[in-house]
Amino acid sequence: MARVHGVAITRSGFTMIDFTHNHFALFGLPERFAIDAAALDAAYRRLQSEVHPDRHAGASAAEQRVASQSSARLNEAYAALRTPLARAQYLLQLHAVDAIDERDTQLDVDFLERQLARREAADVASVAGDVAALEALHAAALAEVADLETALARDLDRAGADFSGAKPRVRELAFLVRLADSLDAMIAALD
């Protein structure tokens, strides 16, 4: 491989572009959980058209470096807003709440029991090669994801929202998204 150099990402002595501290503002979007996905996509593309390294290929080394860093920052911001789970986590983080805190991973007992039963059913179906059963579990997980997202939009987008109180929901959402992904992988492995 690799020219793996120890080049520091930002050189000391000059401030990087103020990409603002808030990804929502960067894309000109209101700071909400429920967003206009088309507006996000359009803003992302418009900004990338401006900063992408391909737009600065003939420029000085300094400009190329800034372009590359800016473009990477934009990709990071876009990734943080694009999926509902990432967006919920980012919103909580903006309000100084760490949803996926490693020391505090509590989940509701009922919720956990339900999910463990699901995982077990998935393993059984996977071993038996029962694609239909896996599809059903997958659909159920996605339905629950959609419900959680609706509830989160209601909780987070109202005046005086309790961001800390939304933690358990966001954690459940993270859990279910992971579950849906692994169900998807199990289905894919069978065909």
């Binding site: 491989m1 690799a2 020219r3 793996v4 150099h5 120890g6 080049v7 520091a8 990402i9 050189r11 000059f14 401030t15 990087m16 572009i17 103020d18 990409f19 960067l26 000109g28 507006a39 359009a42 803003a43 593309r45 418009r46 900004l47 990338q48 058209s49 401006e50 900063v51 992408h52 390294p53 391909d54 737009r55 290929a57 003939g58 420029a59 000085s60 080394a61 300094a62 400009e63 470096r65 800034v66 372009a67 590359s68 860093q69 800016s70 473009s71 990477a72 920052r73 990709n75 990071e76 876009y78 990734a79 998807d184 992988a185 894919a188 065909d191």
Partner: protein
């Protein structure tokens, strides 16, 4: 304070002259070079009008020959005639284990494999650079002068070592590389611009040595790669090898000599290609000891013995679709690229998986080079085509080794590039002053199952209690898909600089040596070349700085302007001299002086783009 008046350097080239830009498809089997002429991408043929160059290099008694001339000798001089060097790029001998089809004299060196030839031990990078040099010369002859910028394509699923090796080869060949571009993406650009395509498209690229699948969204001038997958050791060569094995078996031959093996592989390929149009074909040959071979191969047999190769391409497609969170039915069109997609069994399998016949209205051999030429033309600044933007991804996950030989992923596969991600680690012993960092690439959980990219040590961590140090490791993947890793200890504020030897690449020292060897030795030539390179660089920065000041001069205050002007003057002064080291320092100084301006200009661009959005939103 009055601005310092400084005479403008007059060394820069005519500002609006058209630049010579080329795209190169460096294939396993065939290579091409293309350019944009009068707004149209065209392949540059050789004197006989042949567009393709066979990717073959022969180290002959009287020097290096490439292409058709080398091809003619492959069976009579197999050890010195190198084919499919692309499959060896960035690979160690162990990677090729069990791959007995290469009849070379491999030299077992640590890192990348080497081949013993009449002209000495060659790395695959040098072999590729000999090919690239021939293409560069063809382009220079055709365009009437030195090349200003080149885009070189690589398989999308190429890993870090393979990409770096390709870039090194281009550098060695004296090509000013603007970008490494993924082959299926290049094809999508050529196809998409040609057909004004919008929607989800899949590009299925089965060439001589590699297989790629890319899923893209084409919308309003943006080419967005959603996911890519593939196999960098699967292509037409493998089909040839199956036919070769079939010949050995059917004709009851003993293991053939290197020269007979090459002869039979050539026959195998011809037979395979014949069966694309015919139901059966004769395979007739006479081996070096006079043994005759006279067989008939049918299309049915070929389809049977290669069925699992075709099947091997389907799994990556499903994975790519899954990563893109799309179903096969979401795909609006499937673009076929690569000579091996002419085989009917391949087309059938693709049609079946996507539920639609693939698009075949473009030349599968040329489309990659054409797309590369279009991008080169744009990157070099020739603005004569429509405006579009390309967003590509990194094909493989990048991570670090953690406790227990497990991989901690830092950059997941299919992340849009450029991407920068950081991960924090801590020490586990009191007073620990160094930390070993092992960078790996791949999708598996265990380090042993991934490709090791590099190891380095962060030293000089100040004494602290276990767990108190905060070591931030940053991965940055640039627009070429190349990785840069840095590490620093945050609490002490001490940034430890680290630099790593590539495990499967060439070291800077080796490259320098090869560069030296490839030039007519004399140190004077080296110096002349270095000076010429710095002068080109000087012209480029001066031009860029002038246009930046012209467009956004209001962003610098008098002090800063004075610094920039002084740096400009220094570059102009040294540009006229012959001291390349001093000129390099002046170039670097000018770069540093313009860095804050570059950042502010970018910010202004962002603001402008945002304002534009708001205006649109109002008028919607």
């Amino acid at each position: 304070m009055a601005l310092l008046q400084i005479a403008e350097p007059d060394a820069s080239p005519a500002p609006h002259a058209r630049k010579r830009a080329i795209g190169i498809d460096l294939g396993t089997t065939n290579s091409l070079v293309a350019t944009v002429r009068h707004g149209l991408a065209v392949v540059l043929p050789d004197a006989e009008g042949r567009p393709l160059v066979p990717s073959i290099v022969r180290y002959g008694e009287n020097g290096v020959v490439t292409g058709y001339a080398a091809m003619a000798k492959q069976a009579s001089d197999p050890h010195n005639t190198i084919v499919s060097a692309k499959r060896l790029m960035g690979r160690g001998l162990a990677d090729l284990d069990g791959d007995r089809r290469f009849p070379y004299r491999f030299v077992d060196t640590p890192g990348m494999v080497r081949i013993g030839t009449r002209a000495g031990v060659k790395s695959p990078v040098e072999v590729s650079s000999d090919l690239l040099r021939a293409l560069r010369e063809r382009a220079e002859a055709s365009l009437g002068g030195a090349i200003d910028g080149a885009v070189v394509t690589v398989p999308a699923y190429f890993d870090e070592a393979q990409r770096q090796a390709t870039k090194d080869a281009a550098r060695l060949a004296g090509l000013p590389v603007l970008r490494l571009l993924n082959e299926p993406t290049a094809a999508a650009i050529a196809y998409g611009l040609d057909n004004a395509a919008e929607g989800i498209y899949a590009v299925y690229d089965l060439g001589g040595g590699t297989f790629d699948i890319s899923i893209l969204r084409l919308a309003k001038g943006v080419f967005e790669v959603l996911a890519t997958n593939g196999d960098t050791a699967l292509g037409g060569d493998d089909f040839d090898h199956r036919v070769f094995c079939w010949i050995i078996e059917a004709a009851h031959l003993p293991p053939p000599s290197a020269s007979d093996a090459r002869l039979l592989l050539v026959k195998a390929r011809t037979a395979k290609e014949q069966l694309t149009l015919h139901d059966e074909t004769a395979i007739v040959a006479s081996l070096s000891d006079g043994t005759p071979v006279d067989l008939v191969l049918t299309r049915t047999t070929l389809t049977g013995i290669t069925a699992n190769l075709v099947a091997k391409t389907l799994q990556p497609i499903k994975r790519a679709l899954r990563d893109a969170k799309l179903a096969a039915t979401d795909v609006k069109g499937v673009v076929l690229v690569g000579g091996a997609t002419r085989m009917p069994q391949v087309r059938r399998a693709v049609a079946e998986l996507f539920g639609q016949p693939p698009l075949t209205n473009l030349d599968p051999d040329e489309v990659v080079a054409l797309g590369a030429a279009i991008q080169a033309n744009k990157l070099v600044g020739n603005r004569d085509d429509e405006d579009w933007l390309l967003l590509d991804v990194t094909p493989l996950s990048l991570g670090l080794e953690t406790m227990g030989g497990l991989v901690e992923k830092v950059v997941p596969r299919n992340s849009t590039i450029p991407v920068a991600r950081a991960q924090e680690f801590t020490t586990f012993k009191d007073g620990q002053s160094a930390m070993a960092i092992h960078v790996v690439q791949g999708e598996r959980e265990k380090v042993a199952d991934c490709r090791s990219l590099a190891r380095f040590e962060l030293r000089g961590i100040p004494p602290m209690a276990a767990g108190a140090a905060r070591i931030r490791v940053t991965f940055a993947v640039d627009a070429d898909g190349l990785l840069d890793v840095s590490a620093r200890e945050e609490t002490s504020g001490v940034a430890a600089h680290v630099s790593v030897k590539p495990s499967y690449g060439l070291t800077d020292g080796e490259i320098a040596r090869m560069l030296q060897e490839s030039f007519a030795h004399a140190a004077d030539d080296m110096r002349a070349r270095a000076l010429a390179e710095e002068q080109v660089e000087a012209d480029r920065i001066v031009e860029a700085t002038r246009s930046a000041l012209a467009a956004d001069g209001d962003l610098v205050d008098a002090d800063e302007r004075a610094r920039i002007d002084a740096a400009l003057a220094e570059v102009a002064r040294l540009r006229a001299g012959d001291d390349h080291t001093a000129l390099r320092a002046a170039n670097a100084q000018l770069n540093r002086a313009t860095e804050p301006l570059a950042a502010r200009r970018m910010d202004r661009g962002v603001q402008r783009a945002l304002t534009g959005r708001r205006v649109d939103a109002l008028s919607d």
